[in-house]
Subunit: 765 residues, 2 copies
């Protein structure tokens, strides 16, 4: 087991690397040349422009105002300064609620940590168990950290009452904070939705599994069906073309175009030499040819093909998928259609609220019901395999945490490993980073799996991927680390246990794994978050693009990659910290400060990133909150069961009934919150729809809704240049904020753009 | 353990009692005096009348046509003769689908039994385990029955492969039949709903939790809310009065009235003596007074009070509960309102499809959301307590099944008990009957619990009670019999096992309990069902009433108690047989014929009862089927887990993965069926509503819907004499079948009454 000095070394390394990242960030962000990497959000909003070239040439690239370097940490107050309502206006509700999760972590764990340090740490430290049991448990070595944990309390000691009482206090506190937060987020969401401007998705329903009709095309069939069954409300519909091939062509053309620009730039710099390339894969082999001509020809060819494909898709009735976006005269009509069943066969005419236009995942709109069921079954199997086969490499990694195991396996390395500093590095640093590498590749696999499952909105895909990743982290990082790690130590004992003994086993191992998780928190939580703010990958990518591809201002804007909150990765990771905090709050409270530092630091960093960097791909109005809430509740219940298991092995079996009350109460709390709040995130109250409809009718009686909706749900490949047409439908007296680039990243028709001048003050760094 | 001779005795006793019941039924049903007990359905339909008094006086009471007695079993073909569509017309879809459950049992178990007897019985019988293990397992005695069970196969024998293969075959067969049946029932339901006449509940939505408004009454508030939020569809509404006190008065008046009639009749028979009664409780003590005057006065007093209360309820705004029945202009409008959320607060303005008027449970309409939540939590606790404390008496009963245990407890009874015949009686007959007595009182408790839970329809109350009773039977009769019974034999071994070992324990005990369950099936299933057809309690009650209370023909009709299918009792009981059949199909197939006899006999009896006797209190259009399906699937999964547990103790642990596939597949099957079919039972497709609306508009353009709905949802106590008013709204050209008594048992406006003449042939016995 790692000792206190291992932890100290690890803390030093990680704090240092975090500090290095922060200093690097502080310096890099002040350079004008990096401005688009660290403040892309403002560019997208049309508020900030490329620094003008007044002053010496070098100033365009390097900031020479040294006073600014002295205040290298003043992004922190700047990040905290923007008030929440303005933040919602600026970055959307999703982002604003996202950082509230970190705040929620602080709200839960700060009081818990105070109480735990006041009560449990003294109780544990004076427990004196290790003096008496050192003989019996010779197989497991305990570190000094364990003196502060429940392991130091002897079996059947009266001191365990303190832990039970604290488990109650912590549970009630967590439930109280969770309830309050659910209420706040619900109110925020309802207020946000109520004050939202007109958006196409408010009037539109996505219809899938339109049954085939021998006499009518899909478009006619949809039209007739809704004309008959929603006679007063039906307005229009938009069929969905299977433009997947066309979209691929467009993407390929874009690649070829980039290569052309690259070679043109090259040629411009050295006009005496025509650049060449090879015809083979990635230009690595094959005949040598003139690059500029080659790519120009290729683009020409592809353009012709594209035009043909475009014609084919629009003309061919087979290119129409059995799905459509159906629009209604009012929000009320759409709310009715989205919430009701249309026909007696529940596998046909499936209606659901349409996602925002930019949120639609077009590839999945055509999947029939039975195929969808089979896909989900297959993916459930795949997830099971993925979750339970990953445990093998993780187990191997975990053995590293126990240096004695390595020595046993490779005894000839013993002299090397036993050198104090190397030992500390291996024990403190390596396990966390290897695990981290494993986890980096995973979200992409999970996202692909969600796509195969057939969800039709990016937001749904991300929510599902997050669910999968959460399961994975739970089984592999949390349970896997605990059981596999201990399994190698206590293999013999384990083989004789039945699998149903897992809760007890977990409970027993929990205190022993505290140091491992502390290391993990520092590597993943501290240094990882600091790396997040530095944006090393986008920084390098931006400058590479800038050198090779950028010619015009427009190119520069395209080279800019603001990124977005990686919901499917960051949220489950956060949940792991909630879980660790809750589990260790009663067992090894010394872990809590590390978690609190993580939440506080993350809050700062992500608030800064949301204000200055990220550009969300969609706005779901915090529809993810029920997931967040549920997963924290799951964490709470796991913590209660592990404590139950732990105490039952401490010969405190008569505590079982007391502790069994907690998960039951927690579950009831979950049900209660679900009943009380969840429908605000899933359903669409008719009253609210009616209020907005009535208001709109009064303020804009001449609105041509049909025109407004006409192009809203067209596949992006058909949209080139036509994007802003739908803005014309606003009556002249309707104030449209003049944004220069509001439609760059998808169609943002109607998303809220506040007045830019109000908050440019945040940039005065 | 019971031996084969015990079983034979039990079978003889039970068959004999069943036969006696049947003969008694055959004789009693031919007597004209009992005609109203055995054919009340036909009286209620208005097809049959009290036998006229042509012929000798005695013929009014006794049937003297002896030829009819010879054909005493010819109710059987009569019961089978009516084809299913006619049965649906005659008795409703609920009843028709109900008896299909028995048919489903036959469809599942008959082929399974054939296969099991062809394959498993020979495999088991030649297993020869008992020769080798008789020494080791001396504590448990095996009966001869066990030679046909899996117990006779030695551990780790290759023969067990046959059981695993059969488990697969049985599972797939059951799933296939279940799927087919779900499809058929769904089609039947949809067809039934589509061909249904106009009914008030098609246009009406029940709104609960109307929030209080300081300025408006409930009625105004409801009116304004729906006028605003469903402007095109809202028609009218009916507030709900808290008439619980008034209803009690009406009920009490009825009791007093009965007593008055009793004494009046007494006086008429002996005109020389005025009957007297006493003022105290039930007329048992107190001052002696003239009975007729006393009750006449009491009725007078109560009538005045009732009138006052009636005025108070209608006049007092506080007597209006925050709930209402809201009616819409079309079925489409009602379907929309029932399926959507009205406001952002999901605890207010809760809308749900209104039950049929006669299905409404008026007492529960006023319960607020929070109180409802608390009530359900409390009842969940109560159900838990009830389920797990009943296990103690059951355990005591089960010890009777093991006569050796009795001898150990009360050794002085040994000589008496050991007499062959007494021993057989005790072992074969007693355990079943004591358990049965326990179970008789339970459904009433469970129904009361469901009422406290606050459901607003009788159908929902019955469905919930059935769910509770099913849980109870599962835990107490099935698991309780198995574990507790064995616990007394193997107590010492049990105490050393952890509670998570239950599946194994159950698996091991299953084969040993086969004889107990065979006895149970014969007592509960065979003799019990035969008693059902005899209707002993209604017979006695009818004649008592006839003697003491009946004066007019109308009184005689009120004395008739047709009863109804006791859904909350009969369905879970049936499920127990499904469970037993599935569990024992691979373990002790010899139990299957007993189950098949039960299903076949029950099918006959209940088909007869449905045609001739029962009068359903409501018609839910088979909305219970998803419950039936789910519970059979649960039984299937239990059978798979018990086999898994059993085989893992037979040293066939490498069979575990093969057997683990089955419950996973079964669960997936359940999900699939749920997705595919369940919405037909829970939701209301707009297309169907629209079709009916359009059709109605075309055929009856002048229908005054408001008038039609005006009195539909009025508390029954306000309805005296006004019942048939709502029939007036039919246009004159609308053919109303002239039924004499269609509104006797609740308001049946619009339920289907076929032409009576078509099927009176069934009565020609």
């Amino acid at each position: 087991m790692a000792t206190v000095s291992d932890i100290t070394v690890s803390a030093a390394i990680n704090s240092l690397s975090a500090l290095i990242f922060l200093v690097a960030f502080a310096i890099l962000r002040l350079q004008p040349i990096n401005d688009r990497v660290y403040f892309p959000k403002w560019y997208l909003k049309g508020i900030r422009e490329t620094p003008s070239t007044t002053g010496p040439f070098v100033k365009k690239f390097v900031n020479l105002d040294f006073r600014m370097y002295l205040r290298f940490l003043n992004w922190v107050p700047a990040a905290l300064r923007m008030p929440e309502p303005e933040l919602i206006d600026h970055a959307g509700l999703d982002s604003a609620v996202y950082i509230r999760i970190y705040l929620l972590g602080l709200k839960i764990f700060f009081p818990i940590a105070l109480l735990a340090f006041a009560v449990l740490v003294p109780v544990n430290y004076t427990g004196g168990n290790f003096k008496t049991v050192s003989l019996k448990m010779k197989d497991i070595t305990f570190g000094e950290i364990d003196k502060f944990s429940i392991s130091n309390v002897p079996s059947a000691s009266k001191r365990l009452i303190a832990h039970i009482v604290m488990a109650y206090v912590f549970t009630f506190w967590t439930m109280y904070i969770l309830y309050k937060e659910y209420k706040i987020v619900t109110d925020m969401r309802l207020h946000f939705l109520a004050s939202e401007n007109r958006r196409p998705d408010q009037f539109t329903v996505l219809v899938r599994n339109v049954p085939p009709d021998p006499d009518e095309s899909v478009s006619e069939h949809v039209d007739h069906f809704f004309r008959v069954n929603h006679p007063d409300q039906y307005l229009s519909h938009q069929v969905v073309y299977n433009a997947n091939k066309l979209a691929k062509m467009v993407a390929q053309k874009k690649v070829l175009h980039n290569r052309l620009i690259y070679y043109t730039n090259k040629h411009e710099r050295k006009p005496d030499k025509r650049p060449t390339t090879k015809t083979g894969f990635w230009g690595l082999w094959g005949k040598k040819i003139d690059a500029i001509n080659y790519y120009a020809d290729e683009i020409e060819k592809l353009s012709i093909e594209e035009v043909e494909e475009r014609k084919r898709v629009i003309g061919d009735p087979k290119a129409v998928v059995p799905a459509a976006f159906v629009s209604f005269r009012s929000r009320w009509g759409a709310a009715v259609c989205a919430q009701t069943q249309q026909t007696r066969n529940p596998t046909r005419w499936l209606t659901d609220w349409a996602p925002e236009p930019r949120d639609v995942y077009w590839d999945n709109l055509a999947i029939p019901f039975v195929e969808l069921n089979v896909r989900r079954l297959l993916m459930a199997g795949a997830l099971f395999g993925l979750t339970f086969c990953f445990i093998i490499p993780i187990a191997l990694v975990q053995t590293l945490a126990n240096i004695e195991s390595i020595e046993k396996v490779v005894p000839f390395l013993k002299p090397l490993i036993n050198k104090g500093s190397i030992k500390s590095v291996i024990q403190g640093f390596l396990p966390g980073i290897v695990l981290k590498l494993f986890l980096l590749v995973l979200p992409m696999i999970l996202m692909e799996m969600s796509k195969i499952e057939g969800f039709t909105a990016l937001s749904a895909l991300e929510a599902r991927s997050a669910g999968k990743f959460h399961l994975f982290l739970l089984v592999n990082v949390f349970l896997g680390s605990i059981i596999a790690g201990t399994a190698l130590q206590q293999l013999k004992e384990f083989l004789n246990q039945s699998p149903s003994e897992i809760p007890k086993t977990v409970g027993v191992s929990i205190p022993m794994k505290a140091t491992f998780f502390i290391t993990y928190i520092m590597v993943d939580g501290w240094a990882g978050i600091a790396a997040e703010i530095l944006r090393l990958v986008p920084l390098v990518m931006y400058h590479l693009k800038n050198i090779f591809l950028v010619k015009t201002e427009k190119d520069r804007e395209e080279a800019m990659d603001p990124g977005s909150l990686l919901w499917p990765v960051t949220e489950p990771r956060m949940q792991l910290y909630f879980l660790l905090g809750l589990v260790y709050s009663t067992v090894t409270p010394i872990l809590l400060p590390f978690i609190i530092v993580f939440f506080a630091f993350s809050y700062l960093v992500f608030r800064h990133q949301i204000i200055n960097v990220y550009h969300q791909k969609y706005e779901s109005a915090a529809s993810f909150w029920p997931d967040v809430h549920r997963r924290i509740v799951i964490g709470l219940m796991i913590s209660q069961f592990t404590l139950l298991g732990l105490l039952s092995t401490k010969n405190a079996t008569n505590s079982t009934p007391f502790l069994l009350v907690l998960p039951i109460l927690t579950f009831w709390f979950h049900r209660f919150c679900k009943n009380r709040f969840e429908s605000a995130f899933r359903k669409f109250p008719l009253q609210d729809a009616m209020i907005k409809d009535t208001l709109e009718k009064a303020t804009e009686p001449h609105l041509n809704l049909k025109l407004y909706l006409q192009d809203a749900y067209i596949h992006p490949v058909f949209k080139d240049g036509e994007i802003d047409r739908s803005m014309d439908v606003y009556d002249d007296d309707y104030p449209v904020v003049a944004t220069r680039r509001s439609s760059r990243k998808g169609s943002q028709v109607g998303t809220r753009e506040g007045s830019p001048d109000e908050r440019s003050g945040i940039l005065a760094v």
